[in-house]
Symmetry: C3
Subunit: 485 residues, 3 copies
């Protein structure tokens, strides 16, 4: 793996190794030895990530060009992302560092070009290099991550840095406190992801209690624009930011070796960390920002070197779409059905009531020329009641089989030729689903209104209950949420 | 010639040679050998032209600085272009790459500084480096340009890339198809220019027919803002862009070796080339964008090397303002005029009715102290009827002679001293006219409201009928269109 | 001194030496020898200062990164200035070049980081590198500065270049003419500063008279936005800019070796120097802009070399807050007061009527538990009338003594223990006052609404009458203007 798209792709071994390399670079300096071209494409504004990435590239000996914001680029003229990144690949750039407002943008870029892509933040989804520098700063201060109590404070709903950090903690043994007002709570599905990794979180909206307990306080900015407009929103915002803004006097009960982190920038009109905290021994956020450059140097060295060890995903190698069943009464079946099929497909054991969904996704309503039978609420040994559908003279394609499996998990498919069942089996979804499902996340780069023309890809993380995850924005969906394309 | 301002300045030999050099650079790579400073001045936004020019400069070993858009520059504070480019010359930059929204901006810059200027697009006038990379891409794919059928499709009215491309085709033997809706047709005068070079175009608004016939399909973007606001404009835009947007299914009738070009960016909200075309063998627009860098490297090498061979223009060396005539009855004339001139100027053989224009352009109405005679509708051997004007005690300056020739082509001027004609002749316009004519193109950099303080320069391309061309925006004007300053 | 914040910090010897170095660089070229990183932080837009600084840094061998305007940076997200500059220090940058819209911004940055800061303009306060290049251009043309007559023309109120230039002239023997409309006159306090250096200015609103008299004409831009909106403002603006706009025909009476300077950019829609002046021998503004690069190279060399010789300030080493007086009747005093103080402080000889101010600034109104006596309008040998204040069981802190001295200059403080005055003296303000005074300049970076969280610092330039000066915006205040924090 040569790209840095999501922290979910990284093994713990790789993360630990990057931290060691970055700390080594900080300690011993580095030699400009790469002679590479790096495209720095900031479709969304940034100062810290952009300049630290560019300086890191310079420190490693690279040439950098690109743009610092969407102003003054063809992006504003409505160029699709894929064209922009292909262009830089065409100009001989050896890697891309990019930030984009849409979730999954870095993934799409990575799928489009053959050069490595480093994600500098994609919407509210992911910010992996930030997480790596956050972890580096913890290791630098504490010597370890395992065993620590870590509070994530403030806006846990929109803040991509805390989202990605929580993903990383799946790999460590830490006690995570989520400290936020209810309306800015960590999205439910992100907590579920964390729990699926065998972890627990502690919910606590009391910042003072967190301060007196944890080893690491990770502060974030609460943005006025997340609250309703007008005086009521003002009131709510002030209340919340009043509670979750930190100043030196609040640190009296802190552990002696507490460290305070913040991805920065902080907001000068309503400082979430007061200036008087800067001089306390707890403050680590300036050093944390500084570490960003060294971590990005480490990443760049690896990108152009041996690359990264990938985290293995559970179902990755499962490509099966079909599980054969024994054909017992093949001939009989072709002959003794309610409606006799000489050639065609019989879908049996459809959960009662799901028959209509099957008809819809297979587009059978449209095939007026295809004779079809639909038997409802038959008695089934397995379900009590079942639906059965027979389609004359038609065998299902792979895509059709996938769609069938998406709406109904337990159906048995009988393929009939010359009055005889010659193949019978259950449909099981393969790991990767292409152009089947529409992502329901409006911030996802595949969402129609963005016109980025990305081909939908989903992964099946769990068969039953069905759980699929968008390849781009990494948001999971259950069977109920799935809408087919 | 060291600058790249207009494709009209380039000989075919030079263009062919640049293509060979650029293809060679693409094939064999290049060595950073120049140690020059290039100012990259994008008064108008661009991604492709800017980053490919800057990367090209870097590849050739140059240092680059400047700005990527008007935001954040003294341009926004109303600095005249000439001051901005002089500043960069003053800072020791060795060449300027620039894009500007006004037509003729690169020419004005080139006239102002003594370092080379490379035009990266000036309003809707010219984009010579784009044309060179377009031609390079055609040669790369086809091995030649001569003999090809080439369709220019879409917005031929405002698209500077197709304007400049058509100019280049003056030098080649190609069959040009102009495929556009009527309201976005190629400007009449550009087609006339092309015809004057002995060429013909084929008008055809049927894209499908073009697809099945031509060797090169050059697509352009149709911009919503070119159509009226409101629902009617919407309707028109959708109709037009519906007709001129290309997708893979439309290519069934294409020649096997058709190539599709596009200057990019394409517009993701209404793709003029659908994404599904990208994977067809016809698509060359990504490679075309890539070629931009190599062509710009070739240009930079030449700019700092031997420069470019210039295309010879027809009247370039004609500086004559005056053609002597034989003085036959000099003495008599001074004595026997309707109004006797002891000393002064007699303008004879003015086309009947043009007398008033002569009085106006020479400002004779203002000289109340200058006695003048104006004889109207006299009988003339040459014109049937003629006007005659006599001005006492005044000899015409060069500027006045030029103005006279601009309003009336055939007048005879008699200069009288001591009752005797001592000089008699016809006024013929010289090739270059300075500070005489106001350009009627509102996009021209000389247009008053832009306040760029450029001195008007026109060239006389044809004496009769009179055809002059603006030095900056390159738009021609006829005698009827001329308005004097 | 390694930073370039204000021309007031520079000795004349240093300025002269920088001019020699810059002229030498212009004459002989330079060698890239520094291997440093320079952060170019333009929180406010600029073309000339930014690109000449960046090119200068490149010429001296430095790597440059940063931003060209606030768009697309964390500044727009409300990051405090101190965080931004610390970040670049953290990334290993060796110096900062910055422009900012707030007065004192460069000073605050310089106080925050340990790397040198070069001020490229801070609001309408200072622009020291511009002044250095202005002086360089004068020396280049005239061989000297002493003895010249120099007119500053146009907007002397808001133009930071003329402000800084006038400060520099404190060190030279020049005759300064201030030529401006009344509403754009040089701020009174800046003229006073100049006069305190033993200088005089000549006020003259007649540009023609200046032209015929002076050796150097320093033109500036008059901005439309400085005048009221609407037609009346239009009228005023046109009148003023009509008077102070220069063209070639106005130069007939000029001295043969007059030079015309302008910081540029000039405004193309209403040129304060007409284009026809460019070709006169007087025009030096293009060369002046060019000199900017060489001067900035000289500055960069010094920043990374031996630094700059600092100008000595008058009171700089005065740290005394207290002047002892002889205790004559100590015991008696403790015993025979109107109100007997066993332990505490007696403030005597308060100017009559100032007693209430003392009570207010010492916050005595709040100490309900502190018994206090306040005697008004007693007969005094020194003042005729005096106020006296006694505070039981309280000794004044250093901060309280400073506040006392700020509101009342001549009070005598008696410290009483066990019925006896054990210490008696006058309070004298020390040179540096920290966190005491609120700057009354709305453009100052310490002004509350800007939320830059800068700690107030003032210097005492004069004890009587009291004159303090803001450390950041450099604006002086009198005792009457002082508002305590």
């Amino acid at each position: 793996m040569k790209s840095v798209i999501s922290i979910r792709d990284f093994s713990r071994k790789e993360i630990d190794s990057l931290i060691v390399l970055a700390l080594e670079k900080k300690r011993s300096g580095t030699v400009k030895k790469l002679n590479k071209k790096v495209a720095s494409l900031f479709f969304e504004n940034s100062t810290r990530t952009r300049t630290s990435s560019e300086t890191a590239a310079e420190n490693e000996g690279c040439y950098v060009n690109g743009f610092a914001g969407p102003e003054g680029t063809s992006v504003m003229k409505g160029e699709p992302l894929v064209d922009t990144v292909r262009m830089f690949e065409g100009y001989g750039y050896d890697a891309i560092v990019m930030r984009h407002n849409l979730e999954g943008a870095a993934r799409l870029a990575c799928d489009t070009v053959s050069i490595p892509v480093i994600n500098g933040g994609d919407g509210s989804n992911s910010h992996p290099t930030q997480t790596l520098l956050d972890l580096m700063t913890i290791v630098e201060a504490k010597g370890k991550i395992d065993g620590l109590k870590i509070a994530l404070v403030g806006d846990l709903k929109y803040g991509r840095t805390v989202h990605t950090l929580l993903q990383a903690f799946e790999l460590y043994k830490v006690e995570v406190w989520l400290v936020s007002p209810e309306m800015l709570a960590m999205p439910e599905w992100r907590i579920e992801d964390y729990k699926k990794a065998g972890k627990e979180v502690i919910f606590n909206d009391d910042l003072m209690q967190a301060i007196s307990t944890v080893d690491v306080l990770y502060m974030t900015r609460i943005q006025r624009e997340r609250f309703p407009e007008g005086p009521e929103g003002d009131f709510e915002y002030k209340k919340v930011s009043g509670i979750y803004n930190l100043n030196a006097s609040m640190l009296k009960e802190a552990k002696k070796d507490l460290i305070i982190l913040h991805p920065l920038p902080r907001y000068k009109h309503n400082l979430e960390i007061a200036i008087d905290v800067d001089k306390t021994p707890y403050a680590r956020y300036i050093e944390q920002a500084r570490n960003g450059m060294f971590m990005r140097q480490a990443i760049i060295e690896r990108v152009f070197g041996k690359g990264f060890e990938e985290r293995k995903k559970k179902n990755e190698e499962h490509n099966l779409l079909w599980q054969d069943l024994k054909i017992e009464h093949g001939k009989k079946m072709g002959q003794h059905m309610l409606y006799r099929l000489e050639n065609g497909t019989l879908i049996d054991h459809i959960e009662a009531g799901k028959g209509e969904s099957v008809i819809r996704v297979l587009g059978l309503g449209k095939y007026k020329e295809t004779p079809m039978i639909y038997a409802k609420n038959l008695t089934s040994k397995r379900f009590g009641k079942k639906d059965v559908i027979g389609i004359k003279d038609k065998e299902l394609s792979e895509e059709e089989l996938s769609k069938l499996a998406l709406v109904c998990s337990h159906a048995t498919v009988n393929m009939i030729r010359d009055n005889s069942v010659f193949k019978k089996g259950n449909v099981i979804l393969p790991y990767k689903l292409v152009e089947l499902i529409e992502c329901n996340n409006p911030g996802c780069i595949t969402y129609k209104k963005h016109h980025e023309h990305a081909v939908s890809v989903f992964y099946v993380e769990n068969q039953d209950p069905l759980r699929v995850r968008c390849h781009y924005c990494e948001k999971p969906m259950s069977r109920e949420e799935i809408k087919l394309l």
